[in-house]
């Protein structure tokens, strides 16, 4: 989680441009970013390996703490995870497995983890994607408004609401919505992604949309504040810029000055920060899917955690961290398309 204060600004692209002669700066920039991402991914894989194996001494004991497990079961678990092998051998097997997207067998579902992930990826992307897009649009619009009219009543009200929603635990907000609107008023389904017995493409889509309302609303509520505060401070940063005075001097309306000049410039740092703060979306996914029993990666993670199902938890650790790293890489690659100063 990150504060909504937007602290910790990204080291935006241009720094990578001072380069050795010989290589095209763009190539150097892209190469550097890709390399950083690859190293980060490797670090995540290594962390995942050692975290679940080395840290507590015996992962099987740690993962079964507080539960009655027979000696045979323990032995079986050890064999399943390849824990009877020497550590270096385990590491090599683990890395090879990762390369081929083989995350081992799930302990509780008795199917390959990669299959489970493939099956659950769609719903999660649907939920997280819809939620993030709505939250980003809402946050950018409100943040622009607030920054442009700093100190106004509207700014104070919008900021107050955003900070309040940011302070609310997402899982609790989800439960509250279920109590009020689903199990109470019966307006929305309480859980899952679809109702049984619905036929026809349109009807199914409508049914899924109906199921999505509450989870997406919860997601938007807890995520948009961050986008809004980032955009607000970006707009504030641009407020004193000389080119805005030029634009006003040209006879542009205030709204046009904002739309055509201030916003495109303020968007640049915001886009990077939105990608950097995707971690909050991931935690949102885990909690909201858990609360709404949404059949995605988040609820899979939760169920893996409850059993506990080491291969699932370990694989999803890598998937979640890796997806954030890859989204960050994407942001780095998209940024030059938005900012002509980096493109050159």
């Amino acid at each position: 989680m990150d504060t909504p204060s937007g602290a910790g600004r990204p080291a935006a692209g241009p720094t990578a441009r001072r380069g050795r002669p010989g290589l095209h700066p763009a190539v150097r920039y892209l190469g550097g970013r890709v390399l950083t991402a690859v190293v980060s991914l490797l670090a995540v894989m290594v962390t995942s390996f050692f975290l679940f194996r080395v840290l507590p001494g015996d992962p099987v004991a740690a993962l079964t703490q507080g539960r009655s497990v027979s000696v045979d079961q323990l032995e079986a678990m050890r064999r399943d995870f390849g824990l009877d092998q020497p550590l270096p051998q385990q590491f090599v097997d683990y890395c090879l497995g990762m390369m081929t997207l083989d995350f081992g067998m799930s302990y509780q579902y008795r199917v390959p983890v990669s299959e489970l992930i493939a099956e659950r990826l769609g719903p999660t992307l649907l939920l997280a994607g819809t939620g993030t897009v709505i939250a980003a649009v809402l946050g950018l619009v409100l943040g622009t408004r607030s920054g442009w009219r700093r100190g106004s009543l509207m700014d104070r009200v919008d900021t107050g609401i955003a900070l309040t929603l940011w302070s609310v635990p997402s899982f609790w907000l989800g439960l509250l919505l279920i109590v009020l609107l689903a199990s109470g008023a019966g307006l929305f389904p309480t859980s899952g992604m679809s109702s049984p017995g619905v036929e026809g493409t349109f009807a199914v889509a409508l049914d899924v949309a109906h199921h999505m309302v509450l989870p997406v609303a919860t997601m938007v509520a807890v995520v948009y504040a961050q986008y809004m505060m980032i955009m607000r401070s970006s707009v504030l940063d641009e407020m004193g810029a000389d080119y805005l005075t030029t634009a006003r001097a040209k006879g542009l309306r205030d709204a046009v000055v904002l739309r055509r000049h201030a916003v495109p410039n303020a968007l640049l740092p915001t886009v990077t920060l939105i990608f950097l703060n995707l971690g909050r979306v991931v935690s949102g996914v885990i909690l909201i899917e858990t609360v709404f029993a949404w059949p995605g990666l988040g609820s899979l993670f939760y169920s893996g955690l409850r059993v506990p199902d080491l291969p699932i938890v370990q694989a999803l650790f890598v998937v979640f961290a890796g997806s954030v790293i890859i989204m960050n890489l994407l942001a780095d690659l998209v940024y030059p398309l938005l900012d002509p100063r980096v493109r050159t």
């Binding site: 810029a241 030029t246 040209k250 938005l338 100063r341 050159t344």
Partner: protein, 385 residues
Amino acid sequence: MKQSTPAGATGERPAPATADAGGRYLEVDDLSVSYRTAGGEIPAVRGVSFGLEPGRKLGVAGESGCGKSTVALALLRLLPRSARTSGSVLLDGEDVLAMRWGRLRAVRWSGASIVFQGAMHALNPVQRVGGQIAEPLLVHGRADPAQARGQAAELLEQVGLPAWRARSYPHELSGGQRQRAMIAMALACRPQLIVADEPTTALDVMIQAQILRLIDELVAGLDISMLMISHDLSVLAETCDRLAVMYAGRIVEEGPAEEVFAAARHPYGAALSAAFPRVGDPASRRAPRGLPGDPPDPAELPSGCAFHPRCPEAQERCSRVDPLLWPAGADRSAACVRVLTPEQERAAGVPPADEGGGADRGHTAEPDPDGAAPAQARPHPQEWS
């Protein structure tokens, strides 16, 4: 109360050869600007008046913080919300400060445009130069998008840039090229007045000369009036017809450019022209260079003449007399007690310059904090013609 220059101090200048009041395109009268801050109102411009005839060029000189850029922004009401403006700015006979928003937007850029200082920041970094030049044409309905593109290319060529530069972003241009693009933008709507705020600062000397020549040619060729603002008196003297020197929010000297530069009547004007000697001018080499101290804090202006703490020729009475623009030779004026003859001094109510006036000092040495005590030195207009 800080007394502002009375409305005709420059307007009714005693040399009306060029000054046909009705023929002026720009007429600034008693313009004052103050900024509201947490610590109260801070005056930035304190009663400035000047006028500009069509096709003429007026230079405004002064150190940073003297209020010259505030004047430039006030002409089109571009100051931040915290600024409070009074007086009047007549642009082609219409008061900019009293205009409605719609009319003001229409006048901006088409009636007067601004070449801002440091074109790096004055151009939008993420928009192509051509689009930025064409934008005012579209906003003011002077062209459709295709025509605007064509005109932007023509304008670029007019300022000595190849037309394909329209597709460049500001960061792809050098400092001089950016300034040229800025000038092309200012010319877009064919305004009758261009305000150039430090157009050549931050450029190296060779480029500076090129840009100045370009401005000179364009203004002469298109018969545009120009108000050029700079801290560099020598640049202004070379380009402009008349010069106004500002200090602490006021005009302290005004007159024909050459004369003011060569022989300023106000000690501040003299110091400023000595700071930028003309190449090959032996007289300037002997002149005192540089000025001790910094410009005063506008929140705490000295009593009397705001310049007296730094003035090399300050007299005892300077801390009490707040001088106005008094006639200082043909077609010139200066805000300094030294330009008055004893008769004029008497008429204006300025205490005499003799030192050791013990009795006199008794009631005026300690000026009243709110500035009531310093002699309100008003010239009698009939006396100076």
